[in-house]
Amino acid sequence: MKNLLKSLGRWFDVRLSFSESLLPVLRHPIPRGAAGPMGWWYVFGSASMTLLLLQVLTGIGLALVYVPSADRAYESLLWLNYEQPLGWFLRALHYYAGSGMVVMVLAHMTQVFLHGAYKYPRELTWCAGVVLLLCTLGMFFTGQVLRWDPDAYWGLAVGGSMAGRVPGAGPQLVRLLLGGEVIGGDSLSRFFSLHVFVIPAALVIALAVHLWLVLKCGVNAPPAPGRGVNPKTYHAEYEEELKRGVPFFGDALLKDVFFSALAVIAVVALAAVLGPKGPTDPPDPTLGGANPRPEWPFLWLFALLSLSPPDAETFIILVFPLLLIAALFLVPFVSNRGERAPSRRPVAVLSVIVIYALFGALTYEGATSPWSPEMTAWSGAAIPERLVEASSPVELQGAAVFQNKSCRNCHALDRVGGRRGPDLSRVGARLTRDQLIDQISNGTPGGGNMPAYGKQISPAEMSVLVAFLSSLRPEGQSAAAESAK
C-alpha cells in the first residue's frame, strides 16, 4: 500500500515536478528574526489574503442569487436578507470581511512602512501592494453601488458630477461611468462587471506579482537600529542571515495562521451580530430626503471636499486623489536605503501618526457631516420650550416664522437642528437688531453659506423674526444693541 502511494506520488512528480518547483518554495529559509516574537508584525499581509479568500467565497455565493438588473436587484437583495437561508449572513459577512480586508491591507502597509521593508530590493513589492490597496478600495466603491438603494443611486449621481468636472473630457467620462445618458440599468451592469470581473482580475494579477516578488526577494528581516540597507552589501548580508534561517513553511507560518483564524472569527462575529448592511429604501429617485454617504473608507475624502473652499473643490476632487496615489507609489523611490528601524526614523513615525490623526479626524467629520442641512428640522424639531416660555406674542410669531422659513434646517436651537450655520440659541446677545436684519436680508456676503432672504420674507415677518432672535440670549444678559451703546 505504502509502496503503491509512493509510486503514485512519483508518477505525478515526474510530470508535475513539484519536488523541483513547489517544495523549495515551501522550504526556503526566512530570517530567524521574522519567525521570532517580531513575527507578529508580519501577520497582516496573510490576514488580508485570508479575508480576500472569504470575499471570493461569499461573493460567489451572493452571485448565485443576486440579480444585477436595475428592476430586480433591490428585490433580490431583500430575498437574500429575508428568504434565502442564511442569505443575510452571507451579505453581512461579505460586507464585514471586505471592511476587515481594508483594515488589514492598511495595517500591513503601515507595518511595511514603519519597518522600512519597502527599501531595496523590495521597491516593486511595495508598488504591487499599492495596486492591491487601490483594487481593494475599488471593490468597496463598486460594491456599494450593487446595493442598489437610494444611497447607491445618489452615490452614482455624485460620482457622475465629479467626473463631469474633468476639463474637456467630462461629458464623455460621465457617459463611460454611467454607461449611458442616465443613471439606470446600464450603470448597474457596468458596476457589476467592474466588481465581479474587471477589478478582481486586476487584483489577482497584482497579488500574483506581489507574492512572486515576496518569494523572489525573500522575507525581510526585522529592522535593527544601526543596520540599515546598503544596496551594495545587501544581498551578501541577507545570504548570511539566511544561513541561520528557519523554513518558511513550518512554525514561522504558525503566527499567520493563528492571526488569520482570529480575523475570520472576528468578521464572522461582526456579521452575525450586526447583520447585513442595507439595502435601505427602494431605488426610487423621487423619494425625498436623499442624503448619500460614501462607505467608511471614503468618508475622509467626502469630508475633505465638503470642508474645502469652492475654489479649491475641483482640484481636490480631481487632482488630489491622484497626487495621493502618486505619493504612495513614490515612497520607496524617495528613500530606498539606510536605516529601517522606526527608532532611527522619527520622520517616518511622525508621518504615520500625523496621517492617521488627519484621516481619523476627517473620517469623524465625514461620519457626522455637520455641513449637511437637516431637511426635516423646520417641521420636525420643535422650538425648545425654555426659549419661548417667557416670549411675547410678537416673539412667538417670530418663532413660527423661524420654523416656517426653514431657518432651522441649518441653524440649531439648543443643539437641535441643522449644524451648517451657527447655533442661534444665544444670538440675541451677539448681534444687534440691525445686524440681524442685514444678515437675514443679504445672507453671507459674496454668496457664502447663507442665502439672502431679502426677497423671501415680508417686512412684517422680518420684524417679528428679529424680535424673536434678539430675545434669544442667556438670562440676565441684555440685547446686543443695548450693550453696544
Binding site: 438588473s69 436595475a70 430586480r72 433591490y74 445618489w154 449621481a157 455624485v158 457622475g160 458630477s161 465629479m162 467626473a163 463631469g164 468636472r165 474637456g168 467630462g170 461629458p171 464623455q172 460621465v174 457617459r175 463611460l176 454611467l178 449611458g180 445618458e181 442616465v182 443613471i183 439606470g184 440599468g185 446600464d186 427602494p282 431605488p283 426610487d284 429617485p285 423621487t286 425625498g288 430626503g289 436623499a290 442624503n291 448619500p292 465638503s306 469652492p310 473643490e313 455641513w371 449637511s372 442641512p373 431637511m375 423646520w378 416656517n404 422659513k405 426653514s406 434646517n409 441649518c410 451648517r420 454668496g447 453659506n449 447663507m450 442665502p451 439672502a452 432672504y453 426677497k455 423671501q456
Partner: protein, 186 residues
C-alpha cells in the same frame, strides 16, 4: 558553421529558409498580428465609447391648467431615455413653475432639474421660504433656479420645454453635469 552555410544559399534545407524569406515572413506575421489586434480593438472601443445618436424624445408633464401661476410644482414622470429593465430608477422628477405669459401672450414656464449643480444630489423645494435646498452640502437656490448660497458653481439646470395641444412637454433629460447641461448639451 551552420549559419554561414545558410548565407551561401543552401535553399534545399527546409529548416533554414533564406534570410529574405525569413524577414518577409517576420514582417508578414507582425502585420497580420497588428491587423488582428486592430479589428478586435476598434469595435471594442466603439462599443465602449460610442454614443447612440437619435432624436431626443419629449416627455409629457401634464395639462397647462395643472400648473397654477407662480407656483412651483414637483412633477414625476417616466423618463423616455431608459432601458426596458430600468425599473424604479427611470422615475424622474423636475420642478415646474408657471411664469405666466410673455409679451406675445405665449405661456412661459420654468422647468428645473432636481439635481444640484454642485454634485447632483436632489434639491427639495420649500414653498414657505421660496428656496430650493440641497441635503448634501447645503447648496441653496431661489425660486427662479438661480444660486442663492453654498457650494454650487451655478444655478439649477434648465430643461427644454414646449407646449403641444395644451400640454407641457420637456425634452427627456439626461443626467446633467456642468459641461453637459440640459439646454446646452455637450
Amino acid at each position: 558553421m551552420h549559419e554561414t552555410h545558410d548565407v551561401v544559399g543552401n535553399d534545399s534545407l527546409p529548416s533554414s529558409p533564406a534570410p529574405g524569406r525569413r524577414s518577409f515572413f517576420r514582417i508578414l506575421t507582425g502585420g497580420l498580428s497588428a491587423v488582428a489586434s486592430l479589428v478586435v480593438a476598434a469595435p471594442l472601443v466603439e462599443y465602449l465609447f460610442g454614443k447612440r445618436t437619435r432624436e431626443i424624445p419629449w416627455a409629457p408633464l401634464g395639462a397647462l391648467q395643472d400648473f397654477p401661476l407662480d407656483e412651483t410644482r414637483q412633477v414625476t414622470f417616466d423618463n423616455p431615455i431608459r432601458q426596458p429593465w430600468d425599473g424604479l430608477v427611470s422615475r424622474v422628477s423636475v420642478y415646474v413653475r408657471n411664469e405666466g405669459q410673455d409679451a406675445a401672450g405665449e405661456p412661459r414656464f420654468l422647468v428645473l432639474a432636481v439635481n444640484c449643480a454642485h454634485l447632483g444630489c436632489p434639491v427639495s423645494w420649500f414653498p414657505q421660504s421660496g428656496l430650493f435646498m440641497c441635503p448634501c452640502h447645503g447648496g441653496v437656490y431661489y425660486a427662479d433656479g438661480e444660486r442663492a448660497s453654498g457650494p454650487p458653481p451655478r444655478g439649477l439646470f434648465h430643461c427644454v420645454w414646449r407646449v403641444r395641444a395644451g400640454r407641457l412637454e420637456i425634452q427627456a433629460p439626461h443626467y446633467p453635469t456642468l459641461q453637459d447641461t440640459l439646454d446646452e448639451p455637450a
